[in-house]
Symmetry: C4
């Protein structure tokens, strides 16, 4: 009877777990619908056509592009040609052809420019760095690398113009935010000009800036900011084109095209997603209560199970997302009202765009974690147990070995960074070196670059790395897993067959 | 004697199997001759020269090509230069040189254009999508993404021209079919123009279309359709050049070059293949009878063997192919007669080209499956048994693990899609993300793109993926196979040596 | 004492083997000196500068190059610009500058053009193929793919010119040889013109050919042949530039740059190599005698050892090479004499160049095999035994599995060829498909091409291939080796330690 | 009690080791701070902008670049356009715009050119090589490949000019040093010209050199040397642009951009690093004493431990670095003084740049070795022991197998070199072939190049290599490690648990 009771207990357990699994599956499907409803391949194409328009168009003289810009002159080439052509579409097909009507005067004929673009500059002040004593006699100007503390707050107009272009405005005044560029984090401050709403105005503004040498030795970054909206597909694209002027001279271009769906509930499809989101909210409430009960029951021991931690994580992220979504819903409308009333002001969607992206990412991570909980319910099947217990049992050894592995790995990464960092792009920062060596294991590397950077140590470094890490260390992972699998398989073969989920279904079928 | 009988039984069995193997080998050789007779490297070169002619020729002003087209203007550049130059070869070498005679007036001097090309356009109607309330005051036109339901059926000629270019024709009227484009499935309907049979006519037609703004905001796709025939090598190439105009603005070019051998029996070689095809038909009849007998004998248990399922599959595909071949033989001739009588109509080979390709694919899959049946006869040899039983025994474990593996894998793919989908081409759809992650395992990936799309989550995603999937999970496959192989080898070593195929030959040799 | 005798026997054996090893090592070193003396990095640079000169120079109008040629017009662009500029260097730096003196009038200022270049054409005759009945009314000309049997032997001059350019000469008349092109094997026959020895003459010859439409529909290949010699480094480069005109239309360029050292004994270094070659001859004689003795002693059982087969192979290749070297030495001088007497004839070094390359390859293969004999002497050391016996023991299993593996592999290759052959370069022939799938295992593949060729079957094919071959089958190799290694290690651990080579040295040291 | 004593002994041992570990960790952190303080991502960007400026700027006519230069004419194109534009920035943005003030007249507006650039040429004399007897009648000039012994010491001015450009100066006179070029090691001797400090002067100098045919057949290398300094980031870049003129004709460009921080102590950050360096010196003193004591105690047995050898190595490298650093500190200042007094002389920073790079490399290698000593302290933890003893135990087998592996590997490399060396860049030298085959294992190879070089032996070579090395031999590494791991794990499981480091902490916690 003891045997029987055990069997009955187990049956109850199985039934409970199955019910839990079912509920969880519905939750997961709901979550997937929401995430897949949030994004669409169209968003990629939107990013693509806009980025091609601005980044890949060749300059008329040098055939260089925004992406390939390397000198100050390229900045002006971009501004006076590509930017003007890309923003203002006042003709059909080409200049010789018919004018577009006011309603068709859109970027690529389909995308409305919201407000006017803004160009902003950040400068550092002279003497922001120390000239070594040896040179102080011959070099008198020194503009350090950008840092918020060395920003130049002075006016710098050559003839005392009183426009925003030549004055400094703080981040607060501009309502700006920090931008993470390629070589520094730039504050939202600086001098700015709002461009015109048609081609001629903008052209004149830019010509004036160029004539008066707006870009100077102290300039460290110039930003173009604007937002376009496509009514066909109801998407915003918040665009930021950045020219960084490092202290080394030259120009480093970068960009951001944030394609976001700020107005989330317009089409019937959108309302279906809204319904799913409501269901999701109920699910979250349900799980909050469940976990609360469990915490009360188990106290501290609750936090010892990884599954519970996973649950809490998912709930926390979900709450965050719900909160943000509600907040957005109310802000965007008022923002748009304001903008549409005066179309000649700069439309600052940076904040909304940035947080919408963070929201999307949070939801994505949430659903990723949610998937892993499936493994909790998988342990019924014998084959699965065998595999998952192999993984969990060798976790310690894998982790132990991973530490050894990564000491060697990071030693190599540091060596690579120090040996090749000044010459090879993929080793220019320590983290880059880490990723480069990781990619080397997968077969994605550039041996010739390393060899060129150091013709003796480069190849030696490469051979040592491949021999130790690829030939020797990597095989340890396999040895560990292989060995553990054999052990686990023998053990499980010796165990009595427990009441399996399959049995449960068989019984139901026989009755 | 029991021993002896068993031995004799086995001998009979071996002899039968050998005979079966021989027959099957002949079948397989016959099948290979047919498939290799169907295709030839020339077909690749034919596709190559024609696609280079249209896709890689640079536009005279921007040096861009069809493949690189991104704007509406590129469509006109292509039509007015590359297309005209590619279709009409009215001079030897270059314009200053001698005119070609009528018989040499072929594409690349060798390929006859059949009939005239057709250009067709699909448009969506204005108000085919909903403008969000916030924008309804300032944006009044809205052309949704293409879907058959939002096609514009209205005439749209600016001055009331009464040509086919400005009217809508249904798919049935045009005898068209659905085309699977890059961003949508397009119906065979729309407005069309049949171009001229010489350069001047076509040039005028295109100039008129451009002047009257044939491409408008509602345009969602433009198709060029034509077919060329090369008598030297007796091949048709059914060409379709597509410009998709997504709702995002811009242009996405795509193409289809279907090189097919529609007239299958012309040269002596072809008649040899025909003979093989006849033999093939007899084989299929033989196998149909054989399987029918087996089904009758074994009833339902017949369907439990994978080998039998394989047999049925091969037979089914074969019958399909035979049927199609017969159908084709009779249609093509009549089609060609019609066309050659009036060379100024559009030659619609799309249907024939499409199904010929499907036929080729079906035959290819058929022979692929046929090869696998060889493994049925391989079990005689001990080493082979050892290997194949390893594979079959670990199949369950592999499958079980594959499920676990793919849950993790798809969780990563979904995460990748949601995080990078709007920025990176390789993650733009969920299935693309799946393939991208699969290719990452093989070492084909672009880390910098991921990093650029999201500078924080990108690298974290990559490291987690490589660590779990490449270092840990992938090694499980090996552990499973390794362990099973050891087991199987021990077992087989313990078995008594059975009468092997080698013994059979040895005995024959000794007698 | 029996123990002792055995030990003594073994000691004798060890001593003999060591002596043999020493002799063999000297042989190997000698062989390496010869091979490394035969080639040098300079040869690569020579090939490089000459191929860059002709293949990578952009055409003045289209900026296309020889490598990228796709149309008949590109042939003329090449001939009238790149070829003329590449062959005749009559000025320093550029045209505006000083003339070069006669002695400096070399290609790239350093390479003497030997004799004059020859241009040769191969044509097929009209009606060389059958036009399908359906088309016979409208298509009257048909030029098949090239095959020696369909060569056009007729004169084809438009106005009855009586030059070699318009007549057919047989392979024998031209003293030519077969050329293995990209799409066919071309005979050495055809019509030819010998170009001039200065720019103006050649320019006129080419202009005449173009005007009179030398390249016609029946043209299937055009060859440029010439040889340059660099006295600085004493190297010849036999150059062949080929334009193939496939029956599909268009042009497929190919080339051969055979850099060879025909005059082998000039510098002191060369004479050192000559000395080594003499030693090599003695070695070969020694080994011939040794093997002859062994064969006499062992009779048929001699041929059962792989080591002996290897010995015979090395000897055979060596004899061949020696023979060729002697032959060359005598021919080249007379050839050169003849040429230098009349510098205005065509210098045909094709035969010598071809066989010199074959000679180099034969020597390379010879030394490759020679290295493997080292393994014969390695079995003294225990660790080595363990490893080499693992390999030799699992050889059978590996081979057995390799058969299974390759059945699956070739089935995939055939499927790939049939599905993608008409669209994707890497699958255009069956052998290409085989190599492409092999490269896929190593991580070198182009998924997007496959996907584009067939959007449904392409990805399915790829996934199946990767799953079966990469995840499952490849691991079998490892399982087999892994298992065998464990077995061998246990066995060897159980063996008594034999008298090892290390002991031999230790003993010598102690005495 | 014996048990207890042992336990106590062990406790003492653990405590000592922990203290040692702590000291070592501090040492390591200090070392890392120094190395990371020595370099920064800015250095990469500095190298990048300067190399882009000179190497990637297109020539006005051919659009070729320095990197792509192949002919003598490209040398003049570079000198007269890119070099002039890159060195002299006498205008803002472009020529039509304002002049720059004297303080802004910097390369890329930020980098001061130190002194004037120097152009230097190395020539070999005529008759430096032997013309084969067959050719002696027709070829009279012969300029061998470069070697110091065949340098031409004669004057070579056409009209007897008496400038440095046409005279030979020895390495000593020029204070030069050997340069390791792409195809030879060049001495520091030759003829040179110091260019001007403004655009016009330099332009005239170059024009004169060109007119008088400075580059002749005997020219084997031309060097541009100059140094720029950026005060903003306190970095020097020592630039060397090299045109090698091989004896084959043509041009092979190469370059060196040595970005170094010669003035090491300027900013507060620098002084923090200086402090760390002082601490480092004390550490080294401490370790020298420690090791000296150990050596005294252990005598010869000291040198048997790899850990001790590692210690000595680290100490030796450290001492070297310290010495160099002190030397540099004193030389640089005097060097700069001299230069700044007369800005019109050539600033020779080659020596300092070269040794600074060597210093950086030495420090990098030092810290790399230092990391490995961590493994000495890791043996406390059981999992770690298991892993590290696996590695150390299979080291012998791995090494033994590595020998076998590399015999096969080098045999393949030699074969590859001999078969493809004259055609394929990646096989042009034996060492290149070795690296190419190594990269092939990792999946980075170019099959098409091999196939093109030899259409028969290329694919056979590739298949054999992949089959033996990738499929078979590589798996041996795994088999060895796998087997050893199983053994070690069983052994350790059988051992009694020793007093572990974890216990130590637990005890401390309990008390
Ligand atoms: Ca790879």
């Amino acid at each position: 009877t003891r045997q029987m009771t055990k069997r009955e207990d187990r049956e109850v357990y199985v039934r409970t777990t199955l019910r839990e699994l079912l509920v969880y599956a519905i939750f997961l499907v709901d979550l997937c619908i929401i995430t897949f409803g949030m994004t669409s391949p169209t968003m990629y194409y939107y990013t693509k056509v806009l980025s091609e328009l601005f980044l890949d168009a060749p300059y008329p003289d040098t055939k260089n592009t925004f992406r390939g810009s390397t000198q100050v002159l390229d900045f002006w080439r971009f501004s006076e040609n590509i930017l003007l052509d890309g923003l203002y579409w006042e003709h059909w097909y080409d200049v010789s052809a018919t004018d577009t009507t006011k309603d068709d005067r859109n970027i690529l004929y389909e995308n409305r420019l919201l407000g006017v673009p803004r160009i902003r500059q950040l400068r550092v002040h002279n003497k922001s760095c120390e000239i070594p004593p040896d040179f102080q006699r011959v070099i008198r100007q020194c503009y350090s690398e950008y840092s918020p503390t060395s920003e130049d707050h002075a006016e710098f107009s050559p003839n005392g113009e009183n426009t925003t272009a030549w004055k400094y405005f703080s981040e607060k005044q501009l309502n700006g935010s920090v931008h993470w560029g390629k070589i520094a984090h730039y504050s939202g401050a600086g001098s700015y000009v709002d461009l015109g709403s048609n081609r001629t105005t903008t052209k004149n503004i830019l010509a004036e800036l160029r004539d008066k040498l707006w870009i100077q030795r102290g300039t460290r970054a110039v930003f173009y900011d604007f937002t376009v909206y496509n009514a066909n597909i109801n998407l915003f694209c918040v665009i930021k084109l950045v020219f960084e002027f490092p202290a080394t001279g030259g120009v480093i271009p970068s960009w951001e095209f944030r394609t976001v769906k700020l107005l989330r509930y317009v089409t019937p499809n959108d309302f279906f997603v809204l319904a799913c989101e409501c269901i999701f909210v109920f699910f979250i409430l349900y799980y909050i209560i469940e976990e609360a009960i469990e915490i009360k029951a188990l106290k501290w021991s609750y936090f010892k199970s990884t599954w519970n931690i996973l649950d809490l994580l998912v709930i926390a992220i979900s709450l965050l997302c719900i909160g943000f979504n509600v907040f957005c819903f109310f802000t965007i409308s008022s923002k748009l009202q304001e903008l549409l009333e005066d179309p000649n002001i700069f439309a600052d969607f940076e904040f909304l765009g940035y947080w919408q992206i963070q929201f999307n990412n949070a939801v994505a991570v949430c659903v990723f974690f949610a998937w892993f909980k499936l493994f909790k319910y998988i342990s019924f099947n014998k084959t699965m147990t065998q595999l998952s217990s192999t993984l969990s049992r060798c976790a310690m050894d894998i982790a132990g070995f991973a530490i050894m592995f990564f000491i060697v790995f990071f030693a190599f990464a540091q060596l690579g960074y120090l040996l090749f960092g000044t010459q090879v792009r993929d080793f220019r920062k320590f983290m880059d070196a880490v990723f480069t060596l990781l990619r080397t294991i997968l077969g994605d590397f550039n041996f010739h670059e390393i060899e060129e950077a150091n013709r003796v140590l480069g190849p030696i470094f490469f051979i040592c790395y491949v021999f130790f890490v690829y030939f020797v260390l990597l095989n340890m992972f396999l040895a560990i897993i292989n060995d553990t699998y054999s052990e686990v398989k023998i053990e499980i073969a010796n165990q009595r067959n427990e009441f399996e989920i399959a049995d449960y279904f068989k019984r139901g079928y026989n009755n």
